[in-house]
């Protein structure tokens, strides 16, 4: 049944049943060992191809390498074991995989072996039904290791191939047939991973961990079939472990803390050993419990050492990768996104002055219709803009009380789906435009934008164009007046005096940001002077100064 000749370096052992076509119904420990070896060898051969499937640049950077190292650790445990008890062999494999688990897929692989070993415990050999049950236990165990299993990964492949084993074992006792069905299902399962995990589909790859599991199974199947499972280089020249430690770059380091519980702990000995592993070593305690703290380049070193002395608790590993962060800070800048290409919704704002036009355009407005107080655009002006913008969904921001109605008329005349968000001031329009959500539909956006517009208060400082008696105020033509949210509220002898008076009417101290849009009649120096005066009065609020370039209004001020 089995054949335990030493492998000749390039060949993953000789094959059972190669000479005869008799069915292969029992697998003992020595054959199991050869299967593990074949899986390892086949994985080594495909390591680079599996690495190339990586989607995430950071987590589990080299899936193929990580799985290979895990398999090597597993095989190392049984390499010199003659044992013919398959249960004991599986336990050793599981232990080796556990100790050597690298990366996410390595940890999952170790759990697969753990489940396998648990199911095969104490068995001398296994048959088809036992093998299928063991594979199912392997998948179940693997699933237990995570709260929210992600489908489309090695977990899915393990589960689906185990199900194929159960089905196959119901009709045949031939282990070769079972493994053939398992491997075939694993292959199909891997090809389905992109449909389960969108990130794979986006990257145009299959799951690397799942592919790794398939390759291990395929290696085993090839061995069972007597096909060659060759090693690229002798197994002895295992990959140099050191180069596979991306975490151990200079300047990173880990802050490692844990408590060792044991008996007759030699605190001096522990202190000396821990101190040799890193900096800032702190070792305190007594013969039964020792607290260890150390900064080490490899957190595993002190922990593995501690674990040899007793049981560990309160294990804390802190990553001190300050330098790397400096690098990341410089990397997070993203180029500006052209909103017009993103959104199906076009926006039209009414504004006067080059500065305000620019502001709206820079915020993604599809078109800006010139207009405002005393120069209301016609319905036709707005309609033209509506027909001129791309797309069927259009939002109009009139930004003036007198233009809301005009915008509504344009809406009724257009064939397009038009919504008017009745903004009555420029700052409201800006606020509304900022609230546009490229993913939401037209009606939702109209509602959200209107809400956003309500959250902002506006003061407009201008000159009275005629004498009027309103709100208990008598205003002469030519006087400087301040409107608060469209209502005449204050007057002043200068634009800045009126502005400060208007701010005094707006509970400004309750808001966070004051934005000052200065008009054509105001110079940049005057605006800065104005901003300084506002800051003096409202030191708790941030202030932004924008060259609005608008006609008629000295200042448009928003608080939000």
């Amino acid at each position: 049944m089995t054949d335990d000749r030493t492998p000749q370096g390039e060949q993953a052992g000789s094959h059972p049943q190669k000479q005869s076509d008799a069915s292969f119904t029992q697998c003992d420990g020595r054959t199991f060992k050869r299967l593990i070896q074949a899986g390892l060898v086949w994985l080594q051969r495909h390591q680079a191809a599996i690495n190339a499937l990586n989607v995430y640049p950071v987590p589990d950077g080299d899936t193929g390498t990580n799985m290979l190292l895990t398999m090597q650790a597993a095989y190392a445990e049984i390499k010199d074991s003659p044992g013919d008890n398959v249960g004991a062999m599986a336990q050793k494999v599981a232990k080796g995989a556990l100790m050597g688990a690298r990366g996410n897929s390595g940890v999952i692989l170790s759990q697969i072996f753990r489940g396998l070993a648990r199911s095969l415990d104490n068995e001398e050999t296994f048959n088809a039904v036992q093998f299928a049950a063991a594979l199912r236990e392997a998948a179940t165990t693997a699933y237990k290791g995570v709260i929210k299993p992600v489908e489309g990964t090695i977990l899915t492949v393990a589960r689906e191939s185990a199900e194929a084993a159960v089905t196959a074992a119901a009709s045949s006792g031939d282990l070769r047939y079972i493994l053939d069905r398992v491997t075939s299902e694993a292959r199909h399962s891997v090809t389905r991973t992109p449909s389960l995990l969108p990130v794979l589909a986006e990257a145009g790859v299959v799951d690397a961990g799942g592919q790794g599991l398939f390759i291990i199974l395929e290696g085993m199947l090839r061995y069972m079939r007597g096909e060659s499972v060759t090693v690229d280089s002798a197994l002895a020249t295992a990959v140099d472990l050191r180069q596979l430690h991306p975490e151990s770059e200079e300047g990173y380091g880990y802050d490692v803390q844990f408590i060792i519980h044991g008996e007759n702990l030699d605190i001096e000995q522990i202190r000396r050993t821990i101190a040799s592993m890193g900096d800032s070593a702190l070792v305190v305690g007594d013969s039964e419990a020792v607290k260890v703290h150390v900064h080490a380049p490899q957190p595993g070193t002190p922990i593995a050492y501690g674990a040899t002395l007793g049981s560990l608790s309160r294990v804390i590993i802190e990553n001190m990768q300050e330098q790397y962060q400096e690098y990341i800070v410089g990397q997070t800048r993203r180029p500006a996104i052209n909103t017009e290409t993103l959104s199906k919704i076009s926006t039209i704002a009414v504004a006067s002055g080059q500065g305000l036009t620019k502001v709206f355009e820079s915020l993604g407005a599809s078109a800006v219709v010139p207009g405002g107080q005393t120069m209301n655009p016609s319905t036709e002006d707005i309609l033209k803009a509506v027909e001129g913008v791309p797309g069927n969904d259009v939002i109009i921001l009139p930004n003036n009380k007198n233009i809301v109605l005009t915008a509504e008329q344009a809406k009724s005349l257009s064939q397009k789906d038009v919504q008017v968000v009745p903004t009555i001031t420029i700052p409201q329009g800006i606020s509304a435009l900022l609230a546009l959500n490229y993913q939401a539909d037209l009606a939702t956006n109209a509602r959200v934008m209107a809400e956003a517009a309500q959250g902002i208060q506006t003061a407009e400082i201008t000159t009275a164009v005629r004498s009027v008696q309103i709100n208990h105020m008598s205003v002469q033509q030519g006087e400087i007046i301040g409107m608060v949210n469209g209502e005449l509220k204050v007057k002043g002898s200068s634009p800045s005096e009126a502005a400060l008076a208007a701010l005094g009417q707006m509970d400004t101290e309750l808001y966070e940001i004051i934005t000052l849009y200065y008009g054509q009649a105001i110079t940049a120096d005057e605006a800065e002077q104005m901003a300084a005066e506002i800051t003096e009065q409202y030191p708790g609020q941030g202030i932004e100064v924008v060259d609005g370039g608008q006609l008629h209004y000295f200042y448009i001020i928003s608080v939000e």
Binding site: Y56, P57, V58, P59, D60, L98, M99, G100, A101, R102, G103, N104, G106, V107, I108, S110, Q111, R114, R118, T141, K144, G145, V146, I147, K148, V150, E247, P299, G300, I303, A304, R314, V315, I316, I317, E318, N319, M320, Q321, E322, Q325, I328, V329, T332, R334, A336, L363, L434
Partner: protein, 116 residues
């Protein structure tokens, strides 16, 4: 926290906590999140709504520091699982938030021993 040029974007620590707990729950080897309150050292099996309890977020100079309190499956290689958690949480948060994650501190509060 950020000014993108179009106005401010604020991400509350609570939102970051939610995000981090989602990521950590998908990390292989994590079988629960733990209360960080060591006084009540009995690790409860928290209902999902409360899972942020196992996550602490601090923000210093626009850099995020995360503390995770987790229960790990016994029989996994704890150091590897912890390292995987660190890299997964760091990667996912930086990708989602565009803000650097300065540290992901993993506190392994307990191990869950599944019945054999």
């Amino acid at each position: 926290m950020k000014d993108s040029g179009l106005g401010r974007i604020e991400i509350s620590p609570h939102a970051i906590m939610d995000l981090a707990s989602q990521v950590v729950l998908e990390c292989y080897g994590v079988v629960n999140v733990a209360s960080k309150d060591l006084a009540s050292d009995i690790i409860e099996h928290l209902p999902f709504e409360n899972r942020q309890r196992g996550v602490d977020v601090h923000i210093e100079d626009d850099r995020i520091i995360i503390d995770l309190y987790v229960v790990i499956e016994y029989g996994t290689r704890i150091i590897t699982v912890a390292r995987n958690i660190q890299s997964a949480v760091k990667y996912s948060l930086e990708k989602a938030l565009g803000m650097p994650v300065a540290a992901v501190n993993v506190h392994v509060q307990d191990l869950r021993i599944s019945a054999d």
